[in-house]
Symmetry: C2
């Protein structure tokens, strides 16, 4: 029996019309699917409604894959794919499989002969990098940094060295209510001449993207508390 | 005088209708711009025509930024932005500023108080990573690998170690007519159990994306010669 296809369904980064950041052909695929493996059912339902799903809302089916999902639970989530049904993988924001637990499902698909089709959508990581002006030919995304003060300090020092000495752009993030703390840590640990890009509320009405030396950020701190943001260290 | 805005204009990865991979709102911005800083004027003109530019084709203006552009030439390319004119930065394929020389212009904009607006479009790097099933919470893009045989061997060994031991996904590429050579080098240098994702012709009609151990790729080599492809080493 032929398996279904796993479609990687992008979603919004900030409130607004889906047409602003999702291609028409991607919306068309999104609208016809009835089964989703979602990081959060409630936000996925809200997005599908906004995207104009052609499936009656009561007929939408969801399996949940989040950070609490154990590896041994993945096959059951993916079972409909083996039976020939298509599935949409959808995360809390942006493209699934980046900075979320979605990769577990995609890996399972490769191991079980299921076709995986990635779809274009907004990625805060890549939008921040391209807008930063830093090296886009060599970069690393680190996700969340260590919480422990001493480990974090060491990590930030390492990122600064790699950005300054090797010219490798270093992208990272923080849970939004800890953004101010992260900026303070950067100001404390790194050199005033080191360049930092702060990209806040990307694609949203309050989007703010600026690259400047830390000496600038020390004097002019942007409002970051509870706003999604991406930080990039790099070299001009 | 208020400066213009630098718009980061995405373009196609493979032949096809722009609506398949570019959001409607991004196409709307693309259509109204008359001045572009392009990696290649000819391909940029072809794309703008396909995207349905509202500017008469003879009135489109281009400044060229490619790998031969010297840093001291950048200010002249960007001069219209200082005079209040908007500009679109556009590369040969995908999102500008990634795996191309576009960052030089964006960096100049940050240094000269020009607003930079990134726009959503297809990125072969990110589409390949999300479709690979590998770790999307920690990854590095390396661009092109060293050409020299011994340096390349050492580099591939380092990527394999980082992918296997640290679980950091390693993304890289090659000029399409050297893809077969790169796959052979991988088969020669890395362990048969190491996992490789090959993503060829992403978003095109002949898209092929599969993650498998090198032992599999040794027996079943896909057609890669002269096809754009992204390679990812990672861990399931």
């Amino acid at each position: 029996m032929k398996g279904g296809t796993l479609w990687l369904i992008p979603t919004l980064l900030a409130p607004g019309p889906p047409e602003a950041v999702v291609p028409a052909a991607v919306l068309a695929v999104t609208r016809r699917l009835s089964f989703f493996i979602a990081e959060n059912e409630k936000t996925a339902r809200r997005y599908l409604k906004a995207a104009g799903t052609s499936v009656p809302l009561n007929d939408l089916e969801f399996a949940v894959l989040n950070k609490h999902t154990r590896p041994e639970e993945v096959p059951a989530l993916c079972a409909p794919l083996l039976e020939g049904r298509d599935a949409g993988l959808i995360s809390e924001a942006g493209m699934p499989g980046i900075a979320d637990p979605g990769a577990a499902v995609t890996a399972w698909c490769h191991q079980n002969g299921i076709t995986v089709k990635p779809l274009t959508g907004p990625s805060s990581i890549l939008l921040a990098l391209t807008a930063s002006g830093f090296n886009g030919q060599h970069f690393t995304f680190h996700g969340y940094l260590p919480i422990d003060a001493s480990a974090r300090k060491k990590y930030l020092k390492k990122l600064e060295r790699s950005a300054e000495d090797e010219g490798i752009s270093q992208i990272f993030m923080e849970t939004p209510f800890r953004n101010d703390k992260l900026l303070n840590d950067l100001l404390h640990v790194c050199r005033p001449s080191t360049h930092l890009c702060i990209a806040r509320d990307i694609t949203g009405d309050t989007e703010f993207i600026k690259t400047a030396p830390l000496s600038f950020w020390k004097k002019q701190k942007p409002t970051l508390h509870k706003h999604p943001a991406i930080f990039v260290l790099g070299k001009f």
